[in-house]
Symmetry: C2
């Protein structure tokens, strides 16, 4: 089989102007970035404000394993299937971070014949959104430290600065630093550190903002430090929310790209699915809903993390809940949940499928409680056997849930027709009422407890001494009516990455709470979350090259 | 008078496709970045390789003073004047750094009615070139530290890493840091620091590269560290020159913009004129020469710094020397060189003009020695009196040099017609032979001494103990045949910013030598050079805002 980059480079791209025409956007409505990428300015979106919204499909998955699930691949292939059925369809995806590209081979734009193009650009600088966020984040940091340096009128305690600098780079050397050294003219010495840009609150803010004005208001609310008497200091207190919004004016515009089959894709915003909410931007999803009859979108990691946050955080800003939820599973991954080692996945093992199904079963039950119809997509791999497929189909159908075998990696849209038809059938039925998991009026403690007991299947939530103190501070500052953003391992329902399938009776510990007031949620850290990755011993960068004609090799 | 941003926002921009047509580039030949910016891909340039090259005009100036010279303004206005005379003309300018925009009000795209547009974009993220360079620079840093962390096969002495990280931000807090703290999994503790991106060798490399292949070769030669036995370690030794070239593939393409009057402008590359060579990219200038009959370009700071480096460093890569050199002066600035305080510049003072002329006179003599014809442009200000103008005209003409009064700030191209006509007259005369200031075969010491005695008017060059040791190392490494890149104050011919006009008999001290083997020059540091600026007490960011329609205020 060809590699992803080989398939991508053999594909004849359509000019992005032609892709735009498919959803009613003229040359004047878009801003080109080269021939195959474009931004949709917010004034163009206003033209379509009156349009009725199309159907929304959320693609989520079981807990990821090293075997791979192919959630983005199914998302892309499903959209291409709808296009083959002559539906006006769009995809809304996250944009990938450049940092990891230097480290680990592999992009984030689908795979095989279900990819988003131009994949090299999307995985590198794309239209500059993440660089603009890096700049905005670091402008806040520089202006904050300059405020302290120039007299500190706001009485900021330099030991309580909570705003870190960022780079879109995997750079462990910058995790913990001491800055401001050298002499009195070189700043104020203090402990500091860098995160990767996609972990910045700026990313979450941009992805939840509904307009330039809302973006500015959210930026203004970001808490960057505390005073000597423990009062929060915001971007608004520094009087720089206008400047920071200026830096993000273009990054806020959704980016248009295309699938291998020419289906329009919005690739916009890419917050982490642990310390942030893990979904593409509200503006991109809203745009797709207004321009297309069917929008396919996905959420990061499994249904317990990205899925839950899509439903409890993003939809509240989007003003629209999904018309169907597709849960992607692979037999390989379920066999791992059933106890099979990665090296033995190619051998048939029906019993392991039966056992690993426990993971999928809990995700089905979890997603069903929100009220939207559920479908399971089995993303087929060459090594899957007929007996395994039959067993999984039987198990899913026994739950009263429709199941579809997809082959989009190998066949593109043709491999997703059955799934698209089953969804079309669902759309023709009467919609059920949507239920949020928790009420925003509940306390932060209750909201966390609801997620842990109702979604994760845990027994009890413990709070560290620090977290318990923070619960009180959050209430005192009036932040307790915000939704919670759970940060835990993606590999397990629990906070222990080794507990696969569907663990029960476990307790989790909230180590720390992080108020993200600009984004509008309270992050609950269950264990360590890595916000600045490192590079491996043999980084992917060592294999990359480009020739005089501009052809790239070794990127994927 | 209106502010620059008011004039810019009132101007009706031409679609960049129409601007491109003026120089024979079709829609297919360019890559749009929105409606008013474009990149020219290198394959389009190849189409015009066979074209004869047009005339090249270098715009330089006297030593800058706080009174302002308006070199970019004259450059832009002069091009508009040529356009009014129906000449096929282009401008080639540096692109500004975003960092200072947050600090000090004022852009770098000309002023008044002689500006480059869209000025907000050019002064912010533009087409992402500088962000790509930040990323490329920091990828080298992360991969280098990762190499040390993962076993250090190259035997790099972590105390002798000479590659700093960069941000396009004025951030004094990052000048001196200790990185790699936290624990054994978080890197190797060492002293480090950040520069502003435009001070990175990446910027100089990109601006001197003549193709993707040449870019890769130059990147490969960059020295990033030394081993425990003092041998240089390069990007090529790390085997990452391919990956870094991939990151710069789009940044290497020249950017097309326009003047207020619709004249095509290439805005590409912006190296510092102290620790680097201070000119826009070789590829942009070469492109303009191939596409237009007349190309107007400028070099940073005064003729002693940017001018000398344009002539001795850039033209060697460009393969073309200027057909004329314009030296810009203002009466205000010459009066400051003549001893007048900034607060008293509006009062007539002919004697100060006479005295301050010494500065211009030495620049005329310096530039004339290269062989290209010289012209002086007086960039007129409202406070200039007739007597002052008459005195300066008399003094310049007494040197046998033509002089032209330009009013481009107020009148756009109409204010530069006389200068354009005088240049046209020069072009009709037979070209004189061009003489480089020094022979590359001379020793580094000799080359530095030639610049100091022949251009600066100094008596003697001293070398610090460190610099003396470095002279030897440079010779041992075989780097001594490279040109020298002088880094000194821009305010004086000497290394003392207070010595205005035309000081004589002074000595200068070379504090340190920095081999920039990728760029292909040896930097000689005469005094401290700031490579990471700070923010002022009231940063410009505090005044910036943007409304829901996207209209920016307070940027300039």
């Amino acid at each position: 089989m060809k590699t992803d980059i080989e398939i991508a480079q053999e594909c004849k791209l359509q000019p992005i102007t032609e892709v735009a025409e498919k959803i009613g956007l003229s040359f004047e409505d878009i801003e080109l970035y080269g021939k195959y990428k474009a931004k949709i300015p917010l004034e163009s979106l206003k033209k379509f404000e009156g349009n009725a919204e199309g159907k929304l499909v959320l693609v989520t998955s079981i807990n990821p394993t090293p075997a791979g699930e192919g959630k983005s691949t199914v998302t892309v292939g499903l959209a291409d299937a709808f296009a083959r059925l002559n539906q006006k369809v769009m995809v809304a995806l996250r944009e990938p971070s450049l940092g990891p590209v230097m480290g680990i081979k592999g992009g984030a734009t689908g795979g095989g014949y279900a990819q988003v193009l131009p994949m090299e650009d999307i995985n590198l600088h794309f239209t500059g959104d993440i660089h603009a966020m890096t700049t905005a984040n670091n402008a806040i940091a520089a202006l904050l430290d300059n405020h302290i340096f120039q007299g500190n009128a706001l009485n900021i305690d330099s030991r309580r600065v909570v705003w870190k600098r960022v780079l879109d780079m995997n750079d462990r050397e910058l995790r913990h630093i001491v800055a401001g050294l050298g002499s009195v003219v070189n700043g104020v010495p203090r402990e500091d550190g860098f995160d990767i840009t996609v972990a910045s609150e700026i990313m979450a803010v941009l992805c939840l903002a509904t307009s330039l004005t809302d973006l500015k208001a959210r930026l203004s609310r970001i808490v960057v430090a505390y005073t000597y008497d423990r009062q929060p200091v915001t971007v608004g207190d520094l009087e720089i929310e206008g400047a920071i919004t200026v830096l993000l004016k273009d990054a806020l515009k959704p980016n248009l790209a295309q699938t291998i089959e020419g289906t329009p894709v919005l690739v916009h915003g890419g917050p982490f699915a642990n310390i942030a909410h893990g979904c593409n931007s509200v503006l991109a999803t809203k745009t797709a809903l207004k321009l297309a009859d069917v929008t396919i979108t996905e959420a990061g990691f499994g249904a317990d993390l990205g899925g839950e946050k899509f439903l409890d955080i993003k939809t509240r800003q989007l003003g629209k809940t999904p018309d169907a939820i597709v849960i992607v599973a692979t037999l390989r991954a379920l066999k791992m949940h059933g106890g099979v080692a990665k090296t033995e996945l190619t051998e048939e093992n029906v019993a392991a499928v039966t056992q690993g199904f426990a993971n999928l079963k809990r995700h089905i039950k979890n997603m069903a409680r929100y009220g939207a119809p559920i479908l399971v997509a089995i993303n087929q791999f060459a090594s899957d056997t007929e007996a395994e497929i039959a067993e999984l189909t039987r198990l899913v159908e026994a739950e009263g849930v429709a199941v579809s075998l997809t082959q989009v990696f190998e066949k593109g849209g043709a491999g997703g027709i059955d799934l698209a038809e089953k969804l079309t059938n669902i759309f023709s039925q009467e919609a059920k009422e949507f239920h949020y998991l928790y009420d925003l009026e509940a306390s932060v403690e209750e909201k966390i407890s609801t997620v842990v007991t109702q979604i994760y299947g845990g027994k009890k939530v413990n709070f560290s001494a620090k977290a318990a103190r923070q619960l009180k501070e959050i209430e005192e500052n009036g932040w307790d009516k915000l939704p919670v953003c759970m940060a835990k391992t993606q590999y397990s329902f629990s906070d222990n990455p080794k507990l696969l399938a569907a663990p029960e009776g476990f307790e989790v510990t909230v180590r720390e709470l992080v108020p993200k007031i600009g984004a509008g949620f309270i992050v609950a850290l269950l264990g360590d979350v890595m916000t600045m990755p490192g590079l491996p011993k043999k980084p992917a960068a060592l294999n990359m090259d480009i020739d005089e004609s501009g052809k790239i090799t070794g990127l994927f």
